[in-house]
């Protein structure tokens, strides 16, 4: 009877301790960001690995999601004679929610897990210790460029996803269902507002970028130096980051929206 309660308490304490370590880790990254040398080369490398290499998946999924919203939206709106608002429906869904959230989830799966695996492997093969012995701070050299790149890349990818999605909806609505192109775009433009919608979308993407960047690098850095350690760390990155993205999405939506 007492043991489950005891275990729960112990688990809670461990959870809070872990959060504390994560926060300290984040503070280290922030401090390292400001210390020279600036490692621009490494940052650009990471932009390529996290951003450019994610483009195909973002492009394809964006079009697919936009097309699905277009299809579902059309079928529903046509019943109320409001098919002309398809542009608004597709655009607002993507800009407010699906753009930032789906992009973040896709990037977590692809780039986030890759980041954790890379750093984790470096822990297991003692490369991080090797860096320390050469008087190079592994957080400064390896972690910070990756985390910064993730933060920078997320809003860009999210917006590209949204635009590809709007295009996907356009293909369905205009080319296939026969709506007027001008109506599609105008209803979109009329409904979308910078302050309420686009700014919130970019903020979400930025916050998600920070979350994934922090979690992915932290899990990699704290990988257990065993052969199963890297796999476990990678899995936990995807799980934890995904949950955090969706939970933070709710809070940002609640606090930002009217």
């Amino acid at each position: 009877m007492v043991t489950p309660v005891h275990d729960l308490g112990a688990a809670s304490v461990r959870f809070v301790e872990e959060l504390g370590r994560l926060a300290r880790f984040g503070a280290n990254i922030a401090a390292a960001m400001l210390r020279p040398p600036l490692r621009i080369g490494r940052f650009v490398d990471e932009l390529f690995k996290l951003g450019v290499l994610s483009l195909i998946i973002i492009c394809l999924c964006g079009i697919a999601v936009g097309a699905v919203i277009g299809l579902q939206g059309y079928n529903t709106l046509i019943r109320f004679g409001a098919a002309n608002s398809l542009g608004a429906v597709v655009g607002l869904s993507l800009i407010r929610e699906l753009g930032p959230v789906l992009t973040a989830l896709l990037v977590t799966g692809r780039a986030g897990s890759a980041t954790t695996a890379e750093i984790g492997t470096m822990v297991v093969t003692e490369q991080l210790d090797g860096l320390r012995m050469m008087s190079v701070d592994p957080v400064h050299y390896v972690v910070t460029p990756k985390a910064l790149a993730m933060i920078a890349v997320m809003p860009l990818l999210s917006t590209l996803f949204t635009l590809f999605g709007i295009f996907g909806g356009y293909v369905i609505g205009v080319r296939i269902m026969g709506l007027d192109a001008g109506t599609y775009m105008t209803s979109l433009e009329d409904a979308v507002d910078f302050e309420n919608d686009v700014a919130g979308s970019l903020l979400k993407a930025l916050v998600f970028g920070i979350l994934v960047g922090l979690i992915a690098t932290y899990r990699g850095y704290t990988t257990a130096p065993t052969s199963a350690g890297v796999a476990a760390a990678t899995t936990s990155t995807v799980v934890i980051a995904s949950v955090c993205i969706l939970v933070f999405d709710y809070f940002i939506t609640a606090l930002w929206g009217v």
């Binding site: 932009l47 409001a82 860009l156 979308v192 970019l202």
Partner: protein, 165 residues
């Protein structure tokens, strides 16, 4: 560290594409807002606004010239609506503000019909001539009521028909 310049170029393109996308979404789709200090502020009081929302467009002859900045309850329990408009507009004091609906079931917006007076509305002035929103349910209710009561001899109403049977 040997790093290919092709990679750097591609990264640069990617960043540019991303920033262009953000710019397009913000300005092209999101649109510029006629916010506070830059716009011409006018006030209008309505008996019924019927679902008019903040940031709803204000149009003249179908062209968007501003938006609703604020909606509040006035002391006399009428709706006080603040409009923010393109500062270049010159509106006469006998301009009318009407709340209309886009389509039958669409959103409400405000349409202005400029009058012919020589005197112009100054910032902060109240528009005197207003047409409140038409509530569809009340209109239908009136229609049904009139049809029920006002039946003629040749065309007995349903009620009279029933009593006659």
């Amino acid at each position: 560290m040997r790093r290919s310049s092709t990679r750097d170029f591609i990264v640069g393109l990617f960043v540019l594409a991303g920033l262009a996308a953000v710019a397009y979404l913000s300005l092209g789709v999101g649109g510029v807002s006629y916010s506070g200090p830059k716009g011409l502020l006018l006030v209008a009081k309505f008996d019924e606004i019927g679902g008019l929302k903040k940031r709803a467009p204000v149009v003249i002859s179908g062209v968007k010239v501003g938006e609703i900045a604020d909606i509040a309850l006035a002391d006399d329990y009428r709706a006080k609506v603040t409009l923010t408009l393109d500062p270049k507009l010159k509106l006469p004091v006998d301009t009318t503000a009407s709340i209309v609906t886009a389509g039958v079931l669409g959103d409400r917006y405000v349409s202005l019909q400029p009058g012919g007076d020589d005197h112009l509305l100054a910032p902060g002035d109240q528009i005197e001539f207003v047409e409140s929103a038409v509530i569809l349910e009340r209109m239908l209710g009136k229609l049904i009521h009139n049809t029920d009561v006002g039946g003629s001899k040749d065309n007995p109403s349903a009620k009279e028909k029933a009593t006659a049977e």
